[in-house]
């Protein structure tokens, strides 16, 4: 066997000092030579353990092999057969805790850069003329609620099976978190638009500005409008707040609000775009997940002199993708680990004047299995900031469940579904993605949408 290079082929990135001031994509992607080079590192293990780490079981060694041999069309088709959103997942999946964590190379060296290769193949695919055409041969129409990754993937899979599908989306543009949450510098909206264009080419209809449960009830979809089945992919968009004093001050907002103003509403172009966004000099972002990293790096790009992450646990418990963390460090984000916010301080005019915090130390593991942070007595201090952005989690939006009888949820408001079929407590109504799991990942939502499509197909076949 030829000797393998030990380290990953590095992802070409834009220089930190430049990119921290604009919204263009940070990663530039492999060239063809780099991709082939990296693909050569794969050991093509007999039992492809990497696939066990992939929630949708992409046939990884085979697609990587096709990249190595230059069969990009073959690689693209194989990839897409397993993962309907490869260009997006190649950019946003937490590979380090999924496929790449299992890679045999990773036992001694660096894993194969599976994510970068996925992105490379999918980007190549986008440069080719699309080859889909609608083939809606069936009579049963299906309604999808929510145009996030779960809904989009479910719609695509059903359309490929021949079903006429309509997606109902509450906002004025489809994409869910991919549209309003994840910023342009990490996921260019042109990629999302291309994927949506592909769905439309398959004959999927998208009706924006329709809030199911408000504009149209779920019952009306099933009865008056005659849909044979409904898939709910409404996500987990309701932001949590800390419940500490001063949260009502001007300058305190959820990361969802901050990111929506910037991404969906293009607030970074204000006043060319009409929605304003606060550009504070010093910004504290509370939390350490992907949302927190996106918010803090967005704040930098809007001109913040200091952009801080404030997190009550340590870097070990951070849930953000490692790549985002590294990028944030390079761009100059400051990290305040083991720091617990106690109060947002009033500047005397009803605006944020600072964030009073307390130092923490790690104790015994708590219910989540992570070390419990404990306060250090007498350690209080005030971080001087003008804006506080909260990225401490979201829960499912209650709009639909509040107005629909018989949709069972757990105590967090997540929809309860049959594990095998993804059917909810209402017959003919299926669900998946964050609405079921609580805030999770794009690939889990996409995988759930795909499996639900299969399940809907089986249920409709059985009904005949």
């Amino acid at each position: 066997m030829p000797i393998k290079r030990l380290d990953k082929t590095p992802m070409p990135v834009r220089q930190a000092g430049l990119r921290a001031h604009d919204f263009a994509e940070v990663n530039r992607g492999y060239g063809a030579a780099q991709a082939a080079f990296e693909a050569e590192r794969c050991l093509r293990c007999q039992d492809a353990v990497c696939e066990d780490g992939c929630p949708v079981r992409v046939p990884i060694p085979e697609f990587v092999h096709r990249v190595a041999t230059g069969d990009l069309r073959g690689a693209a088709d194989l990839l897409r057969s397993a993962n309907p959103l490869p260009a997006i997942c190649g950019r946003v999946c937490p590979q380090e805790s999924q496929c790449e964590s299992r890679c045999s190379m990773a036992r001694r060296f660096e894993p194969v850069a599976i994510g970068h290769l996925e992105r490379f193949v999918a980007d190549w695919e986008r440069s080719q003329p699309p080859t889909v055409a609608p083939n809606l041969t069936r009579s049963e129409r299906i309604a999808i609620v929510g145009a996030g990754p779960a809904g989009l993937v479910c719609a695509g899979a059903l359309a490929r099976l021949g079903y006429p599908v309509t997606i109902y989306e509450a906002l004025h543009a489809p994409g869910g978190v991919l549209r309003y949450g994840i910023p342009e510098f990490r996921l260019p909206k042109a990629i999302l638009d291309w994927e949506i264009g592909l769905l439309q080419a398959l004959g999927v209809e998208i009706a924006c500005n329709v809030i199911i449960g408000k504009t149209i009830t779920l019952d009306a979809l099933m009865n008056e409008m005659g849909y044979a089945a409904v898939f709910i992919g409404t996500g987990a968009g309701l932001p949590r707040f800390l419940g500490i004093p001063g949260e009502e001050l001007n300058g305190v907002m959820s990361a969802n609000e901050f990111l929506t103003r910037v991404n969906l509403m293009r607030g970074f172009e204000f006043p060319e775009a009409d929605t304003p966004v606060q550009r504070a000099r010093r910004v504290a972002v509370v939390g350490a997940g992907n949302t927190a990293m996106d918010a803090v790096r967005t704040a930098l790009r809007l001109g913040a002199e200091r952009a801080l992450i404030v997190y009550r646990r340590s870097d070990q418990e951070m849930s953000a993708r490692v790549e985002e963390y590294h990028h944030a460090v390079e761009e100059g984000v400051e990290f305040h680990w083991l720091t617990n916010p106690l109060e947002v301080v009033d500047d005397g005019h009803g605006w944020v004047g600072g964030l009073r915090c307390q130092q923490m130390t790690l104790g015994e593991p708590d219910a989540s299995g992570r070390a419990r942070p404990l306060p250090v007595a007498g350690s209080e201090f005030v971080l001087p900031v003008e804006s506080v952005i909260l990225a401490i989690g979201t829960t499912p939006n209650p709009l639909l469940t509040r107005t629909t009888a018989g949709l069972a949820t757990n105590r967090h408001g997540c929809l309860l579904v049959d594990e095998r079929t993804a059917e909810t407590s209402r017959s003919g109504v299926f669900a998946g993605g964050d609405a079921v799991t609580g805030a999770a990942t794009v690939i889990l939502a996409a995988g759930a949408g795909k499996r639900a499509a299969q399940s809907i197909h089986e249920a409709l076949q059985a009904r005949r």
């Binding site: 509450a170 906002l171 004025h172 309003y180 924006c208 500005n209 329709v210 809030i211 408000k214 504009t215 149209i216 009830t217 968009g237 309701l238 932001p239 707040f241 949260e247 009502e248 001007n250 300058g251 907002m253 959820s254 969802n256 609000e257 929506t260 103003r261 969906l264 509403m265 293009r266 172009e269 204000f270 006043p271 060319e272 775009a273 009409d274 929605t275 304003p276 606060q278 009803g350 939006n397 209650p398 709009l399």
Partner: protein
């Protein structure tokens, strides 16, 4: 996309619109609102549903020109369309099963009394509408409201028509008068200062009072929390839990302050729009 079927100015700064929006018309209830966007790159703004006609499939809105986006809306005419209209959002206002309900409208807020009064009458309740404005020319929709309620009270600050004084003062008189004049519930919609005055008027009278809050909103679907209103010391999302809340529980100081969070940018946007209009005129 919603087509404008009718558009007419009510005052120099407010305009009445009737839109074709059959799905929203079919679902709307008094107290709810829609989110509008008028152009690509445009802002999403909440507008209270003034009225709806389920049979005709139309909704009515009254828009007051206060900022850049509302100015763009007010420039639209019948035959044109509004890019995005989503709704109905928020909860329907809670109505009592019986008794006498008084709706109070200040400025463009009077418009929302149209569907409220119609619905109350349909349910067989006794109704009073109090509408107010600074001066006679600014009183809106009084003729349309008159046939929909048992009693209509018009108030102007300068006394140019109707009662001379604030709507809250007239309400205080009705409460004072007692008997059939005294309402069992009050629902107020209009400028924050007026809603606060109404809250103060009914405080301690035992009259249940609701106010329709209009915080800044981004999505209007519960996704951002920008519309937080402090009610009974707790944060509530006006777009999902409201927009109508118990007037005696609302923290108006916080609400008024939060509404000014983007004042500087709003001014910048308004000036820019005016400047561009001037350039176009030249």
């Amino acid at each position: 996309m919603a087509q404008i079927l009718e558009a007419r100015p009510l005052t120099p700064v407010t305009k009445y619109f009737r839109l074709a929006a059959p799905l929203i018309a079919a679902a709307a209830q008094p107290g709810q609102f829609v989110m509008l966007r008028v152009r690509e790159g445009g802002e999403r703004i909440p507008i209270t549903i003034a009225d709806y006609d389920r049979a005709a499939g139309t909704i009515s809105l009254v828009v007051q020109q206060v900022g850049a986006t509302t100015s763009l809306v007010c420039a639209l005419e019948a035959g044109e369309s509004i890019l995005d209209v989503a709704g109905p959002l928020g909860m329907a206002v809670e109505l009592p099963a019986r008794g006498h309900v008084c709706g109070v409208g200040g400025g463009f807020g009077s418009a929302a009394l149209l569907c409220l009064m119609r619905e109350l009458r349909r349910r067989g309740l006794a109704t009073t509408a109090i509408v107010g404005a600074r001066t006679r020319e600014l009183v809106i929709l009084a003729d349309e409201l008159a046939p929909l309620c048992d009693r209509l009270e018009v108030c102007t600050d300068d006394g140019s028509t109707g009662f001379r004084g604030f709507v809250s003062q007239r309400l205080a008189q009705l409460i004072e008068a007692g008997g059939a004049s005294r309402p069992d519930q009050v629902i107020a919609i209009g400028p924050m200062a007026m809603m606060r005055a109404i809250a103060d008027t009914t405080r301690g009278t035992g009259i249940r009072t609701l106010v329709s809050m209009d915080p800044l909103m981004v999505d209007g679907t519960g996704m951002c929390g920008g519309c937080r209103v402090t009610v009974g010391g707790k944060p509530m999302f006006a777009c999902v839990d409201g927009p109508c809340f118990d007037a005696h529980e609302v923290d108006f100081d916080v609400a008024m302050r939060r509404n000014k969070a983007y004042q500087a940018q709003e001014r910048q946007a308004r000036d820019r729009l005016a400047c561009m209009a001037q350039r176009e005129a030249r």
